[in-house]
């Protein structure tokens, strides 16, 4: 079984600080492996454990993303492909997924491609489906668990808003994963960290993947971010600290006025 996991290093936005104007302070944010991707990797490693094979990880990112890639190797991935080239600067999800799909084809073929359902910085959830579309292979998003692999098919549990579906796909296929509540992420073990140093780490440039260069980077990106700003604030309203009954009555009066209760 040849397995590939697409990963991304992201800024840790779980504990963001803001300046006096309510603007997020981006400096000093720690870089971490996208949690969705770590879950995808842990599913891939579990599949390798069950069915054997090799797990590679791949990222398209500047050099500093090596930290996240090393973590993947320390967690148990066998091989890393790091695509890094200025030609990819300014890529949106379409250009990124195009370049990734080429690199996947170049280094493959793979039986299963794992991806995080989304990354916690951009939160688009595009990369998985779009890589699958460029490669014309089936895919499923919101995959909480890979159930089994059998007779050239993969069965996955994919979340709906109000339940889930069990979906079977012919391999090769792509699964975009979302961790279940309470998922316990592994920490790289000491020996994993030491072994990671000697695992194959393959750097790739734009020239190493065959494709239409006009679709790389900013030129290949249909979308443009034109403005960034802090989210609009709601004003702090009336906060009661005194008698509960009185507070409740005041609020109910207001709700009646606004016809929320009639």
């Amino acid at each position: 079984m040849k397995i590939l996991v697409l990963v991304k290093q992201v800024p840790d936005t779980t504990d963001v600080k803001f300046n006096e104007n309510g603007v997020m302070i981006r400096e000093g944010l720690q870089s971490i492996l996208n949690m969705f991707d770590q879950f995808a990797l842990e599913e891939a490693l579990r599949i390798r454990e069950m069915y054997g094979g090799e797990v590679s990880v791949m990222t398209l990112a500047p050099e500093q993303a090596k930290t996240a890639m090393q973590k993947c190797l320390a967690l148990g991935a066998d091989k890393a492909y790091h695509i890094s080239d200025r030609a990819f600067g300014g890529s949106d999800t379409l250009a990124t997924s195009y370049a990734l799909s080429l690199a996947v084809q170049k280094t493959g073929p793979y039986d299963i491609i794992f991806a995080g359902n989304q990354a916690t910085d951009g939160d688009t959830g595009h990369i998985g489906p779009q890589v699958a579309e460029w490669m014309k292979i089936p895919h499923t998003s919101y995959v909480e668990r890979v159930e089994k692999i059998e007779n050239g098919t993969i069965t996955v549990k994919s979340l709906l808003e109000d339940g889930y579906r069990m979906i079977e796909m012919k391999l090769p296929a792509l699964v975009a994963c979302i961790p279940p509540p309470n998922f316990e992420y592994s920490n790289p073990s000491m020996s994993g960290i030491i072994k990671a140093k000697n695992k194959p780490y393959i750097w790739m440039k734009a020239d190493d993947i065959d494709g239409d260069k006009s679709k790389f980077g900013l030129n290949g990106s249909p979308t443009r971010v034109v403005k960034m700003y802090p989210p609009p604030k709601r004003e702090r309203g009336q906060i009661f600290t005194g008698d509960y009954s009185e507070s409740v009555r005041k609020i109910i009066e207001h709700l009646k006025e606004k016809k929320v209760i009639e």
Binding site: T67, Q70, K71, A74, E184, N187, S189, M190, S191, K197
Partner: protein, 398 residues
């Protein structure tokens, strides 16, 4: 050249241990005050991560870690466990694992060390007795060769991890007199399994670090096989100092980390708590205290890493034992005092709450206070440094 950076792997180790400690240790740390036990799943988790005696060779399930890397782990464990229990559990096994790994017989290492690194057994150190602490030569416990075996008699006191080794398995690197007439050259170091027939444990009620036991045991005609001898007969006094020094370096890191962590809690408190219409953090009297403690503890932290680095240099054959002894003694000399002073002030800032059992900092204070004695009292550190400065001719104690 001086380069105060850690390697990429060391940074990764720090991050991984920090995250593990945040998830698995922080939530249970204060509970150990009542349970008097490190939870089994924490020990299992530490073993899976490779955090128990990582100084041991990978042949026996260790990680071949150098002293600086071992220090990084100690630092992160200390930040997460204010009771100091897990740091003690760690530092004792890391230090004496190193000694065992270096001087133990192949047969003993194969038999014992994998059980230690897997977290099944506890590996401790037993030198002190009721009447012999810093003065190792005052040891009364004896070891005698009888046929192809050895027989041990005596008692040990103020030993960490007695209950752990007595109930879980494992034992203590123990020192005893073999040739009383030979003084320092008559002492032998050996591994003493605490589940041996003839061991009777007893326990003391420590002020802190409740998750790991302290106690002693009487040794009544306990037989041990010859392959349990660590190093050679008569070399115990010299070998034991290598373990002490390893442990002292780790203790210095642990003290710095506990103090700095307490200061972090203190900083938050100073910013949040208001008095006379402004946050406490605006009062210069408190600011200066914070700045002084932070500076001292940062010096302490780097001094400790310097000491552990020097220890590593000796392993690599690039430094002498004396250089190590001095650097280590310097790092431990003020470790407990400075950390306790900082924590004491953090308690002070919190007003009457600082004197309640709810206040985390008093837990940390009680834990750190133990390091004023553990693995060599601070007074001994001064003896060592003066000896290195003035030469042996001016040493009052032999």
């Amino acid at each position: 050249m001086v380069d105060f950076t850690f390697t990429e792997e060391q940074e990764m180790i720090r991050e991984s241990v920090r995250d593990f400690a945040r998830k698995k240790i922080e939530p249970i740390a204060l509970k150990m005050e009542e349970t008097h036990k490190i939870p089994d799943d924490v020990i299992e988790g530490m073993a899976e991560m490779g955090l128990i005696a990582p100084t041991v060779s990978s042949k026996y399930g260790g990680q071949d870690f150098d002293p600086v890397t071992a220090g990084i782990i100690a630092e992160e464990l200390s930040r997460a466990d204010p009771t100091g229990s897990i740091p003690v559990f760690y530092l004792v096994q890391a230090s004496w694992g190193h000694v065992f790994n270096k001087y133990g017989t192949e047969e003993a290492k194969k038999e014992i060390l994998p059980n230690v690194t897997k977290g099944k057994w506890f590996l401790g150190i037993a030198t002190t007795e009721s009447d012999a602490g810093s003065d190792v030569l005052g040891t009364k416990t004896t070891i005698q060769k009888v046929g192809d075996k050895y027989v041990v008699n005596g008692e040990k006191m103020y030993i960490s991890g007695v209950r752990e080794a007595y109930t879980r398995g494992g034992g203590h690197v123990t020192i005893a007199k073999q040739f009383p007439e030979k003084g320092a050259k008559g002492m032998t170091l050996f591994y003493l399994p605490l589940q041996s027939k003839g061991i009777i444990p007893q326990y003391v009620d420590d002020l802190g670090r409740e998750g790991i036991s302290t106690g002693g045991f009487t040794i009544d005609n306990v037989e041990i096989p010859s392959h349990y001898i660590i190093g050679q007969e008569g070399k115990g006094f010299y070998i034991v100092h290598e373990g002490y020094e390893y442990a002292r370096g780790l203790i210095a890191v642990i003290c710095a980390a506990a103090g700095l962590k307490s200061l972090e809690r203190g900083e938050n408190y100073l910013k949040q708590r208001k008095a006379f219409g402004m946050p406490l953090a605006k009062f210069e009297g408190l600011q200066f205290k914070l700045a002084e403690h932070y500076t001292k503890l940062s010096y302490l932290r780097w001094g400790a890493y310097n000491a552990l680095w020097t220890y590593h240099q000796e392993i690599l054959g690039k430094a002498s034992r004396f250089e190590v002894s001095k650097a280590i003694a310097m790092s431990k000399m003020f470790a407990q005092e400075w950390a306790c002073e900082a924590i004491d002030d953090v308690m002070q800032w919190q007003g009457a709450f600082g004197y309640t059992r709810e206040c985390v900092d008093q837990v940390a204070w009680r834990a750190v206070r133990s390091f004023g004695w553990a693995e060599g009292a601070k007074e001994i550190m001064k003896v060592i440094v003066s000896r290195e400065l003035l030469g042996k001719d001016y040493t009052a104690y032999k």
